[in-house]
Amino acid sequence: MKIGILSFAHIHAESYAWHLGRMPGVEFLGIADDDPVRGEDAARRYGTRFFPTYADLLAAGPDAVVVCAENTRHRPLVEMAAQAGAHVLCEKPLATTLADGQAMLEACEKAGVILMTAFPMRFSAPILEVKALLDRGQLGKILAANTTNQGQLPRRYRAWFVDPALAGGGAVFDHTVHLADLLRWFLHSEVVAVYAQTNRIMHGDTVEVETGGLLLLTFADGAFASIDCSWSRPANYPSWGGLTMELIGQKGVVHVDAFRQNLTLYSNRDEHPSWLSWQSDPDRAMLEEFVAAITARRTPRVTGYDGYKAMEVALAAYRSAATGTVVQLPLE
């Protein structure tokens, strides 16, 4: 199976490229990027071919592509790939507007190709353990959840993460969608209302987008859940950040810290302690699922629709923060 990467804008492309070069049954076709310096550099580092245009890569006949463009640029690449008959794994958030998201779903549906959203947390071993616990009914019905996906200011990885024109927003778009998706998956229920408060006190002098955000979601089954999506980890925090969930069930409570599996390193060579992860790599499992779904001609475990519904929560949060009111879903 031939798989290419469209754009190396997103930092996660690094991990996908590394895995695609090593997966049995996968031929890493190459990397197309509208930034030739970035694309050529990546192609050289991962020992693959560089395509100067997206059309060139699609013309080389990929079975599938991974779209890692900036958030607001997903749509044209997904539409091109669909027209070329390539299955698509699209980086999260799926899109930054409802119209873009709908167009992407329709394009892939029409072309008969898979659209999968890159939600690697669905493949995190600690998260899967919680999912199994819940599905076995160990906690009873889930009534409430307190969740966090906090991180450092991501500008250190890619400058566009804090550019509203390319990212679509700040911390809310960056960090809400993972948890919105996991909560929908855990609860088997859709979000019906969102309340959010945001601010720009952290890094307020250097970025234009919100850096602090708190959301409170209501689900159709009556459960409620909060999400802290803040970029509240200082530059000298031991890691980029993390993702935690505390779920209150009728029969008990479970806490999960998805990035807890690490060593603490105190080194005279570093300015601060750091955490060295030894967790199972969820990216590998996510790419394997993408390949398996294509091979079996089945729906992947995470769909484009899942990406759309998670994006909708983030969009509702922006509306709520702007108006100070509770915003009902689905959005029109």
Binding site: A144, Y195, N199, A225, P234, V326
Partner: protein
């Protein structure tokens, strides 16, 4: 100074132990059922009084540790008797009651000190000192969390009677509403969701989002939905220049592993405990004592207690209306 204690439940006995430790003589106790006061009276060499009026005639300062709905009538009675008053949190069951208590005490010329004991817990005090010293810069996102089990008093479990206690939000979460205000300033809006139906939930559980006047936002979790003997508190204060984190799960200095299960040794009502040379309840009452005797400053005023009450009541309203609640500035607080 002779202290008179009203109420002999978890707080009445905790306060009695603290007064004894401080060497402040306990004149007597009052309890709804006088026999329940007898063990404490014997232990501290105090008398049992049949009612508040007779206790007031025998003490200089009254320490009210009764269920919340009784705070107002007792504070008013004590104030009119000219006694300085210590009152457990929450200040009152309603905002009108709280304002009336403050007004009555002011008119009577007596002092009203409210037991917002979290302001005396060293981890919370230390964090605020760091914030005030600018160690995290301007406060941006605060997270406060208090997870315990549902109070399980064998008799008269007034905590579970919303009319009397206001429920978990007023009884437990108010600690963190007060602390949020202490570290991030006045609160403008409150949004809160809550589950309390005992046929659905093992205990009340609520999540709230506060917006502060100066732009900070705070997430508060309060829970009675954990199994005994859970008493977990956690907080994070993220600012423009740094981050403070506290979690009882990672700061417990002892871990004990017994071959035979210890069983559930928690009391009827969750009370926090980390090994300290002085209990925060003692620290609190020492501060109150020094304030009453020598005029030393205290870190929590009756107006602070009223502001915390206002936030908690707004949270309860939000759970009922499903909408955020804007707070009207209180003259008592703004003064």
């Amino acid at each position: 100074m002779r202290i008179g204690i009203v109420g002999v439940g978890a707080m009445g006995s905790t306060h009695a132990a603290a007064w004894a430790e401080l060497g402040v003589p306990i004149a007597g106790f009052v309890a709804t059922t006088p026999e329940h006061a007898q063990p404490l009276a014997e232990r501290y060499g105090a008398s049992v009084y049949p009612d508040l009026a007779s206790l007031l005639s025998a003490c200089d300062v009254v320490d009210i540790c009764t269920p919340t709905h009784l705070h107002r009538p007792m504070v008013v009675q004590a104030a009119r008797a000219g006694k300085d008053i210590i009152c457990e949190k929450p200040l009152a069951r309603t905002l009108d009651e709280g304002r009336d208590m403050i007004r009555t005490c002011r008119e009577a010329g007596v002092r009203l000190l409210v037991g917002h004991v979290v302001r005396f817990f060293p981890e919370y005090v230390r964090a605020r000192e760091a914030v005030k010293a600018g160690q995290v810069g301007q406060v941006a996102v605060v997270r406060l969390q208090r997870d315990v089990f549902r109070p399980r008093k064998a008799q008269d479990n007034w905590f579970l009677d919303v009319e009397k206690s206001g429920g978990m939000i007023l009884d437990l979460m108010i600690h963190d509403f007060d602390y949020a205000r202490w570290v991030a300033g006045e609160v403008e809006t409150v949004f809160c969701q809550h589950i309390g139906d005992p046929s659905i939930s093992p205990g009340d559980h609520a999540l709230a989002i506060l917006r502060h006047r100066h732009g900070a936002i705070t997430h508060v979790e309060g829970s009675w939905a954990y199994p005994p003997p859970t008493f977990r508190t956690r907080f994070e204060i993220a600012g423009a220049d740094g981050l403070l984190i506290h979690d009882t799960a990672t700061t417990a200095p002892l871990a004990v592993f017994r071959h035979q299960a210890a069983g559930d040794e928690a009391g009827e009502v969750p009370v926090p405990a980390s090994p300290l040379l002085e209990s925060p309840y003692t620290t609190q009452l020492k501060a109150f004592y020094r304030h009453l005797m020598y005029g030393d400053p205290i870190p929590v005023t009756a107006a602070d207690a009223l502001a915390a009450l206002q936030i908690a009541l707004a949270a309860i309203t939000s759970t009922q209306t499903g909408a955020p609640v804007s707070l009207t500035p209180l003259p008592e607080v703004e003064a």
